[in-house]
Amino acid sequence: QTITASIAQDVRSTNPGVNRDDTTDGVVLHMVEGLVGYREDGSVGPLLAQSVDMSADGLTYTFKLRTGITFHNGEIFSAENVLWNWTRYMDPATEWRCLAEFDGRNGLKVESVTAPDAQTIVMTINRPSAVFLDALARTDCGMAGILHYASVNEDGTWNQPIGTGPYKFGTWKRGEYFELEAFADYVTPAGSAPDGYVGAKKPLAEKVRFYVISDPETIKAGLLSGTVDLAAVASTDVPEFAANPDFNVADSVDASKHTLSLQVVDPLLSKVEMRQAIAAALDLPTLVTQVTNGYGRPNNSAIFPQSMYYSDVQKQAFAHDLDKARELLAEAGYKGEPITIIANKRPTTPSFETAVVAQAMLQAAGINATIEVMEWGTQLSRYFSGNYQMMAFSYSSRFDPALSFEQFSGPKDTTSGKVWNNPEALKLIDEGKAVSDPARRQAIFDELHTLLLHDVPMIIYSNGVNDIVSNKRLQGVVSWQSKLRLWEVAKQ
Amino acid sequence: MHEPRPILDVRDLSLEVGRTGIQILKHISFNVNAGEIVGIVGESGSGKSMAARSIVALNPPDIRRTSGSIRFEDRDICTMSKRDLRALRGARVGMVFQEPMTSLNPSMTIGRQMEEGLRLHSRHTKRERHRLIVDMLARVGLNDPSTALSAMPHHFSGGMRQRIMLAAMMLLKPALLIADEPTTALDAVVQRDVLELMVELTRENNTAVLMISHDLAMVATYSDRVVVMSQGEIVEQGETQSLLEAPRHAYTGKLLSALPQRMPARAIETTPVARIEVDGLVVDYAARQGLFREGKPKRALNGISLNVMPGEVVAVVGGSGSGKTTLGRAIAGLIPPTEGQVLFNGDPISPSSTNYGDYRVNCQMVFQDPYSSLDPRMKVAGLVGEALRHRNDLSAGEKRLRVTEVLDEVGLAASFATRFPHQLSGGQRQRIAIARAVVTRPQFVIADEPVSALDVTVRAQVLKLFADLQRKHGFSCLFISHDLAVVEQIADRVIVMKRGVVVEQGSRDAIFDNPQHEYTRELLQAIPTLVRTGHGGVKLGWRFDSDVLQAGPKAAE
């Protein structure tokens, strides 16, 4: 039988880590797997590898590969395939989007990759890194997925993914649907239940079909009519489905961040008191309840709640205090200058809603806030150029805390799009990327959080919420990190 | 012979305009017997057309019947169901409207428009219908009827369209044919043929005809009885012969005394520069277009040369479709000539020439079809006043005064100034068109059938106006007309056209008294003229009939 799901945009391409977006990753990663993958809590675990060992100096990683694994075309998977894939990824002609993460341009460089035997891969890097494995597991890098070389044409151009995943490529009617077929010879990694991208991964349905439906109301109608078995829905619709005995709702919080970014080099907002006043003026728990319809939880940390680094310090929040806000405004010498909040109306993020609520709260504190709504592409270009005062902006998932902080931090002069330019913080982030010792890392991240609360370069208010509604006929549906994950899901 | 039962019986009919309560028909009664031809004559605007339209219940929406009944074949038209009415129209009662130019659907071929009624009211096969239509078109004198079938109305001249309309109605052989000014645009020969045809029809099918006309000679020749109307009332009715010979009502007398008569010839100075000189004019109409075919163009004028002196009235007569309107329009600069040129006061004119502006102001035109040449969204005052726009020497008040003045000159009360064209009778529209052309006192007017819809009294008034203008302002006129009596009265010189060429031209007297060309003779002999009798009445006579010549103006010489 066929499980039908819906995706909001068509898959961009089947070439992992090359031409992709979140939706594409979600579909493609049913077909390809990398050496390592994320676990539920954002840590990295072996996937095609049996085990991963790091040398004491942190420069050599040894991957033992699992045996008995075949590609969709029946060919046996071995270290040789890994070498071929790595060469392909490192070739600029492949246009792998994560090339810069491994060729030294962003600091880290993979010096060599060798295969001492058919079941072993050894990688050496130029300096110790806490995020090397994380980068390999990143979904936007296509997990550095291992493909059979028949996936590309003679001339090296992309053809079709022949991977090792639980589902294999079926049919793709562009703009309509993408269909996967179960890979009968799939060998599942160890584990009794799915754990992120690792753990049990059996394809339980014969086929999985992703319909491309962008209108949320049509998706809803699809669910209700039974055309669509499962789909992510807007939080406003959750109560209705929760009350409907024919449906299950799985919800989870992911590692994406909803924020109000402030421009710290804006004449008005460069005063830290001003930014603190804004933070104090906002009643964030109410805001979160409002914009996520009660399904989100406030979180002011760059680290997502399921992470092992989500400590008590990370739970510290901005305090809502109107008196304090007014005091700070006076200190900043604020005289009613307008502050414009830029927002967009994409249905996937609560940008517009946040702007509306924030505007009302800021006005209540005597801050003259206005809203300017723009189309997403326009907003993004404003973000990158730094041409804004305040912006309701959302960031995609980063599991590693260091990467999560780095996502919005950097010096303004070289990267105008970064929000936080406190040198002290930047140093801490660099350190967090290098050291591997969890305790040390925890200390660094806690310090960063405290600094963030003081500096207020942005107000992170919550993480993304994923509400997946599925028909009762489906079993095993879980909501995880805004990706539909249809292995270990069965349909009756 | 037993008293024939009237086929149409109109009793006590009154009509009113909308809510204003203005009465346009006041308690009129008349009847028509089977096989009888009844003429309605009378003042322009007296309600003749409205009375006729009432018979087929096709009055304009704002005209209401306030009293009376109309019985046709013993059934009351006023209370008849829509369905019965439809069965009646066309089949039993045929109606030809006053303005043939606008009565044909501009986007439908002639053939289809003619076939329509026939298909509806008869059981002929397609081929039979085709034959009947072609026959009928030939009988009304349209040459090449089978090609005409696939032509559009705008490809035809005014007279041709009128014949097509008549043919379409006669084709159905109705019991009653109502013809509102059926021959205004027809030349004498065709007019005679058409009327003979109508008479023949009444004999063949016992068709009754109700004929509205200003042409008293025609009414006198063909009708059995005549009804005289004035100001919404029937002032007199009776046997045609006796009524005309001894009119009882004053209005009838007035009508008869206003009949045109030849004035003594005037001396026209031949100046070195003619006011208008036409030199070798050729006009081709672009061929009809199909999606993928291009036919050959139709030549409407074939090398016309003429000139008009200052103060001279040159009449153009000739067969319907001979190119008179085309000539007028080409001189007015509305159609670019294919060859040849037009000179105004000695200078050639073209839209780019320097004298063009001057020409525009000094050359005016009265269109053959007054209705479509009047902007439907403008009131009379605006329509006439518009022509004065370029007269900067007049103040606004003076202009207004001038408009009232000219309306009076053409016999319309000042109250007409606030009417829209659709609220006027045919003759009233025609007078607006004339008023518009002469209000600026131009040097030259092209008048295309300017008086065809006017009753003789008004016509006399207008012709007098022309003569006055001529005397006072030395204005010249190219006077296109079928009405030879009118031409005889007003023209200094006459040009006879046939098929796009001039067949004869000369002074009025020469043409009327001593026509050289065969065709001219034919024209002159085709229709009767009315000759005054001693006691205010008239009787029929024919040109070149010694009787007429004695009684006619010629005798005065």
Binding site: E176, I213, A221, W376, L380 | L88, E116, L120, Y371
Partner: protein, 314 residues
Amino acid sequence: MLKFAISRIIAAIPTLFIVSVSVFFLIRLIPGDPASLMLGDLADAASLADLRSRLGLDQSIPVQFTIWLGNILSGDFGRSITSQQEVLPLILGRLRVSAEIVLIAVLLASVIAVPAGMIAAWRQNSLTDVALVSIATVLLSIPAFWMGLLLLLLFVLKLGWLPLVGYVSISQDFMQGLLYIILPVATLLLHEIGVIMRMARASTLEVMQLDYITHARAKGLSEAAVMWRHAFKNAFGPTWTLIGIVLGNLLGGIAVIETVFAIPGLGRLLVEAIFARDYPVIQGCLLMIATIYVLVNLVVDLLYPVFDPKVNAQ
């Protein structure tokens, strides 16, 4: 006439050139660039620069334009930035889908609206007239995305008569195709009926005053024949022009309906391309739409003399 048609088609080339130039520069005026949109918030300076140079966006705009124009002239519309597909086949494929829906909808809308408008005119100021005009207006005031949703809820959810999403060309499988096409067509149709109907009503009223209508009645023709044979053709001119415009407009403008019914058509392609600043696709789409416009208008102009023989197309 044929000569004229050909000369008109040749005369369309400047139009297309104007479209190309203006769209090329207009979309580059819109803030946002495709590279950063593709990379999103994951962009780092290095990969951004990489991508931009790969897409040729690092060159000056006039240079980009010359390259693009050269390619177009040699028949190469380029590749989509986001999906890497070749633009021309992509657009043609999507166009077929949209064209099918739009043509059927406009045809049906005209077939319904023109007679309805004529009836309204014929019975001017009657209850029928007011009712027809009101219905048309109400339909007009329901946006397509609402109308689509309501139809969808009714026919798919409540009644379960029609499938929800997907698309089968009616040229491939008529019955299947029909099922999929009904709702989008109905949505479009209901929306366009109003405009066309009102135009038909107004121009019919204009014609109904004329003598030849009375004359047609005097022939004893039934009201239907009078309206159809005599009023229709003469009143159809402005309506005809409007239908041409509606047709052209819709081809680029049914994005909303394609979104609601998840149909892979040209409108959605264009909107998505605009969102993604997929320049080659936007440019290609607009050239395509402009070409269609030119053709539709050509047909409108060529046929205009049929309704008004006095007007010649030249």
